[in-house]
Amino acid sequence: MMEPNLFLSMIVFGIGIVIMVLKRDLVIKLIGLGIVETAVTLSFVVVSHNGPLPPILTLPIDRVDPLPQAMIITSIVVGFAVLALSLVFVVYLSIVYHTTDSYKLQKRIKRDEQ
């Protein structure tokens, strides 16, 4: 039987990938990266679903699997760090080359190299 929630999270994943590949603006690409990260989080939540209750020891045994949730905390924090770092790079690039468009950036960097 198909898992509809996982399928939906993969659709969100696809939306993020499409934004990252097709949009030329670097900030919008980063927003696409954020959407992809959210989709991955969502898919882990779906996979860990093993009962209705949160993973607290004092609750009855119908708990979700705690391991994917512990893994996804790492993913969220690393995603936040990567987002902050890449936003600083975008700000720096936009100040040096006066654009955040990736095609124009490529052209201007090539022109500077020659």
Binding site: M1, M2, E3, L6, F7, M10, I11, F13, G14, I17, V18, V21, L22, V46, V47, S48, H49, N50, G51, P54, P55, I56, L57, T58, I61, R63, V64, D65, P66, L67, Q69, A70, M71, I73, T74, I76, V77, V78, F80, A81, V82, A84, L85, L87, V88, F89, V91, Y92, S94, I95
Partner: protein, 227 residues
């Protein structure tokens, strides 16, 4: 030129969707970690027990990555000219409300950090909540006052000093034959002083995430006109 990425993207997305349609998630036995937590750790929050005890190396390197990212943000932001500041609103009622809200958010963040081993929450989410409280506080008081605090207190030194605490915990608390920190007591499940080193680690990592979030906000808000 533009059609090739479009074509490959659509193909790959369709492949991912088709593959995900065949995935079946069978209800599985997820009680290994709860059992081990009850026996060896004592935290009520099983996720906290996993990332602060059984998989502490994951958390250690995650904290290191976060710290490196903050160093990178500070380094590259220093090459951008400072411009713009956040001004406090003219209305004293809005300022008072924001101040009140920020105090509530910061206290809630501290509560989330300190009770991370007892209920949902923990160091990372609590630190992020506290840092967002600082953002609201900056809106209430204006950026000049808050930025002075960052500059005078040398927050980045504290932020890096906290890594030393976590590193020494990892180095000295790992006694052969057991999980991390056998020196700390397991306690009763649900007590405030339980979960071995959970309180210490939650406090230090929460402080680190709080300071890291604050530093990132500080660097960006000092250059907000450059964006």
């Amino acid at each position: 030129m533009k059609k090739i990425p479009l074509f490959t993207t659509i193909i790959s997305v369709v492949v991912v969707l088709v593959l995900s349609a065949f995935v079946v998630i069978v209800p599985h036995n997820a009680n290994h970690y709860p059992l081990v937590t009850e026996l060896y750790d004592g935290s009520a929050n099983i996720v906290s027990a996993i990332y602060l005890d059984f998989r502490l190396y994951d958390t250690l390197f995650e904290v290191l990555i976060f710290s490196i990212a903050i160093v990178g943000v500070s380094m590259y932001a220093s090459r951008v000219k400072e411009s713009g500041k956040i001004l406090a609103d003219n209305s004293s009622l809005i300022n008072f409300d924001l101040l009140f809200l920020s105090v509530v958010i910061i206290l809630f963040g501290l509560y989330t950090v300190l009770t991370g081993h007892l209920q949902p929450g923990g160091a990372f989410s609590g630190g992020a909540i506290t840092a967002s409280g600082i953002v609201v506080l900056t809106m209430a008081l204006g950026s000049e006052k808050i930025h002075k605090v960052v500059e005078r207190s040398k927050l980045e030194w504290f932020e890096n000093g906290v890594i030393m605490i976590i590193l020494s915990y990892v180095m000295f608390a790992d006694i052969p034959g057991g999980f991390f920190s056998p020196g700390f007591s397991i306690g009763n499940v649900g007590d405030f002083l339980s979960g071995r080193g959970a309180l210490l680690l939650n406090g230090t990592i929460g402080f680190k995430v709080f300071v890291g979030g604050w530093l990132i906000f500080y660097e960006f808000s000092k250059r907000k006109e450059s964006l």
